[in-house]
Symmetry: C2
Subunit: 466 residues, 2 copies
């Protein structure tokens, strides 16, 4: 497979040609710029690129790819570096192509509930601008990830249970191919049955098949009224029964999150948040009319209490809602603050919801057996969970890696996936054979077809050669 | 490109091998069986296959493909023949592979809101069986299309505005490839960011890249309470403003359909349904609690009246709801009954909703200019419209073809698509260059990669050679 020797080093001639395409101000080989784009927010080690470039148009991206392809130079696309699986680390050096200067909103199509953007815009920045039209782009991975990065990794987050993942909220993209072609995939029509769905082939491909240079996103109206509820349970089984019942009720929750008892205890002990040592569900509901919120909460309360909730709180007041959700929204920051000088190995797997109790039970067993600390936080509505392992030294890091592997294999055995929303990147590549079986060969042949020289984000998605 | 001479005829040796794979009872060369599988419900001419086969397992489908691929024999998959663009017509003869004996529900995963089925099951039959669990598979193209056919064509229908098209309601599939490999794509996990989205590459590919042999579908809870509303407007512009406002209200309509004034008049004159000569919107809303329906309808009434509705009716009563929707649900049958000895050329295009008035205005102009009859019926919530041209002779048929072409080109000029939900099949292939530009070359190369001998449903999707 790919080896370092398959690629050519960036030399003065290449720099000159990049400068011709982009102008001097958009090409840098300074150590500071290289370092700033050498690692994401994951535990994966940094790697230096040879040159950082800032294109400003799709045509420039295509020109860079044509040049890199001719000379067999790796190109790694970069959003803002918030990814969690090493997805944008330039592990083979070469050109680091960052979208930090392609952050424009190209056009808001308000009546169509659509917006066309350049890929470098942060989704929070986008939503701040869309708010005045009463619209928003629903996927929310937490950090202010760029739209391009979210699409490339098929990022999801808290409100996916109602509004879907990134892949469900994009209609059309412009994509630059390895050979310098610039194509348009998908349609601004919500419905399209016109040939192969190339749009979704590029979404989630992590820049290994082509690089997204523009995207038209689906928007949803900001709900006029929202409510929140918080329910605590003695066991994961009870909590999951409530998740299934709430989803089955037709109430269409906008968020349905779970933290385990260990996480709840840690949050309370660290910052005094109002939680008990129980598996806790956080819920949010959106409505077009205020009155229906109370009826909905009454139904949710009945469901939770019938299924054994030991406590239930809810509110329709916006300020109280934010307080109720504070522990969930700030959970990562509180965890990090309460474990100084500690790294976190963040696992990301997902299973059909009926397998959630078995998956979580398995993690509980691992924790007990090895006497380790770990916190669980999950998008229970989607069957997605993150196990967060603090590590303070190499030994603990290696142990986290081992647990990560065991949890991934367990999720796969339960008809789940090695990654629900963080993407494959570097860390999940070893599991792709287990997850896809012979379908991985089809993925490989498509990669070979569209990127025969392997220049696009090499070292990602596919397992290293044996 | 593909010509008849590229393929081998089915001979006695092939029949013997097919019989060995499937058993005598599942292989037929009788004229009756050939004829029964020679055309769909479209206006496209019939074409005879050379042999009809009824596999019963995915492995058998894979074996048939391996055999056909070795011998360069076309294979055309067949659901139940309800498609509208010639999608399953075996235009190059060869093997007609029908799923009429693969109609099992493999497993209901009720807590996961999922069901695994064989592809030959009709979606109405499936939903009849799922009803006792309070769940349903949402896409509804009208006819009792098979799940496999719906996925292969990415069929949609009336409730797509809320629940999405077929592509949005499938999680995992088993697919037989041209070379006889049997792969599994997607995941039973709702969320998956693990490599390339092969699932959506096969969905909508109309059996030209692989043949779906099993599918796990996403289900939704049957809404406990439903309401309906009907609003009439003087102009398409007013009606579309109401569509945008209703969608923007957060009321999340489950259906948002439009018929034009000519269609409303025809329905009234033919069967006395209670409609006036106006552009009419049909709406449906789903809710978890009965009380919120009235509040929702009050909001919808205000929106429609503010935007110029000349009449508004609504109900929360199930019987009245069916009466209110009768004109829409039975519109096709009423149209056919009221035009005896007449064929219908059914056009299917979709545009961003803001372009809907311009598209419909264009059709009105065409009708006026040429003095022809045509009816418009659309999934307005999605910007999808069908223009239905009655034709009684060859001249009228040719004229319908010409109008179809003009309407498709107009939709494309408005950032729309040549087909919102009927698929490309035979009829829309000539427009794929216009719709996709250079992306069509990528589609072609993927077709070449996965089906180098071109045996899978040849003559579909790609435009004939110039």
């Amino acid at each position: 497979m790919i080896t370092e020797s398959a690629f050519t080093k960036v030399d003065a001639g290449i720099i000159a040609q990049l400068t011709e395409i982009l102008g001097q101000a958009n090409v840098s080989t300074t150590q500071a710029d290289i370092d700033l784009h050498s690692r994401d927010q994951s535990q994966h080690p940094a790697h230096a690129s040879e040159v950082v470039v800032w294109p400003q148009t799709g045509e420039q991206v295509a020109q860079i790819l044509r040049l890199a392809n001719e000379h067999h130079i790796p190109v790694t696309p970069w959003g803002v570096g918030t990814s969690l699986e090493g997805n944008p680390i330039p592990v083979y050096g070469g050109i680091l192509l960052t979208f930090e200067r392609m952050t424009n909103i190209v056009q808001v199509h308000a009546d169509d509930f659509q917006v066309t953007v350049q890929p470098g815009i942060g989704h929070k920045d986008l939503n701040a601008q869309l708010a005045r039209q009463g619209l928003f782009f629903a996927p929310d991975p937490g950090a202010n990830a760029t739209v391009g990065g979210m699409l490339a990794n098929n990022a999801a987050g808290i409100r996916t249970v109602k509004y879907g993942a990134s892949k469900d909220n994009v209609l059309q993209m412009q994509v630059a191919l390895a050979d310098g072609r610039l194509i348009r995939v998908g349609s601004r029509s919500i419905k399209q049955s016109a040939g192969y769905d190339l749009l979704h082939l590029f979404v989630g491909s992590e820049g290994t098949l082509g690089i997204i240079t523009e995207a038209t996103l689906k928007l949803v109206p900001i709900a006029p009224y929202m409510s929140a509820a918080l329910a605590a349970f003695d066991s994961v089984e009870d909590a999951v029964e409530a998740v299934v019942a709430v989803r089955g009720s037709g109430l269409d929750p906008a968020a349905l999150e779970l933290i385990d008892a260990a996480h709840a205890a840690m949050l309370r002990e660290a910052e005094g948040v109002n939680l008990t040592d129980h598996v806790t569900l956080f819920m949010e509901f959106h409505s077009a009319h205020e009155e229906s919120l109370d009826m909905g909460l009454e139904m949710v309360k009945e469901i939770c209490e019938e299924l054994g909730a030991v406590s239930f709180r809810s509110t329709t007041d916006p300020t109280e809602r934010r307080q109720l959700w504070h522990a969930r929204h700030a959970s990562y920051e509180i965890m990090v603050r309460s474990h100084p000088d500690t790294g976190f190995f963040i696992n990301d797997v997902a299973v059909p919801i009926s397998a959630y109790p078995e998956l979580i039970g398995y993690v509980e067993e691992l924790k007990a057996e090895h006497g380790v600390t770990a916190y669980m936080i999950g998008h229970a509505g989607d069957g997605n969970i993150h196990v967060e392992f603090p590590y303070a030294n190499e030994e603990e890091y290696k142990r986290s890696q081992m647990f990560n592997k065991l949890i991934v294999m367990k999720a796969l055995s339960l008809n789940g996936t090695a990654t629900g929303e963080h993407g494959v990147g570097i860390g999940k590549a070893p599991y792709m054979v287990n997850e896809h079986g012979p379908a991985l060969d089809v993925m490989r042949s498509i990669k070979q077809l569209l990127d025969p020289n392997g220049i696009l984000n090499p070292g990602k998605i596919f397992p290293p050669a044996q």
